[in-house]
Symmetry: C3
Subunit: 213 residues, 3 copies
């Protein structure tokens, strides 16, 4: 069966450009997030929130296009459920980035902690690795490269987990204002979940590779 599917891969002109568009958009939204968390002024951050919102809408529309193609195409380059899971995970990453950014604004959080900055940077790295992996999926010529990118996304997620745990422990130790604690904890949590969703996407990519290798 893998043989039949591989036969179609080089001919697929429908799905791969959209997959790359999705991970390219993830690179953009995560870069905007990193830029945003390095700005102290709530006012000055607004332009980046607007950017993030726009990228999130673009992501929605790419997701929508892929799901539509999935509905009307009998032949797909990978198993339909893998495409669905991959695209949903990418969409979720963008949603959690947007959610984190929105909260920073709604909760009027001034200076952001180094843990928040660090988590944003890890999300950006994960998005880059996912994009590298997805670009290589097209011809499957460099499977090692795909696998290595996925392994790195997994290890970034572990790192993000540790940063999150330490940041939350510190918050409970030091923040005596419960309302401030809630605000920061929610922002940290949205960022950490974004790295979980990157890992979900990497796991789908790995299972696609296992099936076609």
């Amino acid at each position: 069966m893998a043989g039949i599917i591989q036969f179609f891969i080089p001919q697929d002109k429908q799905f791969f450009p959209l997959f790359e568009k999705a991970t390219g958009n993830l690179k953009n939204i995560s870069r905007a997030l990193v830029e945003m968390v390095n700005i102290r002024s709530i006012e000055d951050r607004r332009v980046y929130i607007k950017k993030i919102e726009d990228f999130e809408h673009m992501g929605d529309s790419i997701t929508h296009d892929i799901f539509n193609k999935l509905s009307v195409n009998f032949i797909t380059p990978f198993d339909r459920e893998d495409i669905h899971a991959l695209v949903s995970a990418i969409d979720d990453v963008a949603d959690f980035i947007h959610g984190a950014a929105k909260r920073m604004d709604l909760y009027k959080v001034g200076e952001l902690s180094t843990s928040i900055v660090k988590l944003a940077e890890l999300i950006e790295k994960s998005a880059d690795e996912l994009n590298n992996a997805v670009v290589e999926l097209k011809d499957m010529k460099n499977i090692i490269k795909i696998k290595e990118a996925c392994v790195r996304v997994n290890s970034i997620e572990n790192h993000a987990d540790d940063i999150f745990d330490m940041a939350v422990a510190k918050l409970f130790d030091e923040e005596k204002n419960a309302i401030e604690l809630i605000k920061i904890k929610e922002i940290l949590s949205a960022l950490e979940t974004a790295t979980d969703k990157c890992e979900d996407a990497a796991n789908v990519i790995q299972s696609i590779v296992v099936k076609h290798a």
Copy 2:
């Protein structure tokens, strides 16, 4: 393939009545919620919580029936995974309505804010639209009507998102008691998630229509 499937649709006497039962139940539970949030007295609300609980159990049993039919029937009017996703989303809406109502009671929240009332009303509207769409799925004669209902569910969800964001920002601005803040935020959050799940259901319906149009 669509042709073969459509051939079976008029004959299906098993799934469609259950789908309509599921969205009809959603109409009932959301109406009970709207009635409940307009009552100030925690005591007087109890009769509606009991109603909501009963509808939630009825919903569980409808879901269970559909999943059982899915297990034992080789032929289904739509793709099995679409039926599963649609029914799960409808079940989730009822769960979140029940969760929100239970919290209002457990947390002993007296007067409920206008945002909470507004969100309950939006859930009821969404449930009505979902029911309209599901009734039309049976014969697929009026696809425009199905699509329009789904578009409205999507726009209701956007509206609910905005109300939720504004309510939470207001809460963080005005509520100085952290414990009260937690209570209200959780109720708002359960209601907002109920509208997300309505949107999930509408998205499944739209993708069913795309496949069969």
Copy 3:
């Protein structure tokens, strides 16, 4: 179709040992949790947190093995989506147990309430029942036994729900320190979600039985 599938069941040497390994691991991690919550000293609990972490990693590796086998095997003893859902639910139980234990440590929570101890005990019971059900899945000779185990998992979840609701209501009544309230509520919530995931696993097992009975 059930006939064809049943033909393969006795020959399956790949999936069943791994399913039993997964639920066996769940028994171990939930027993470690029960031991841990009965210890007052945060220091003395550490050895159990380490155990729980190790079991959680072992669970990840079992999950990974099963997903890999799923990717490369054309023939599986049950529907692929059922295997995926069952194994994901088992994996989630371990994750939430680990999450609850980690929070007890990170939040430096001293004596744990009777509700927390009770919820841990219910998780252990659920894990035992799931293991009993999975062991019987192998030859399907004792379907009554499988069904009864699943029913018990469902009733344990209902019981856990009630304990959780009462514990949260009590917390909002009695705990005046919002930060302490957040800590305990999150631990309760992780434990309660673990019983939900046990129920998800039991529901998948029930639907497998319906298909093959």
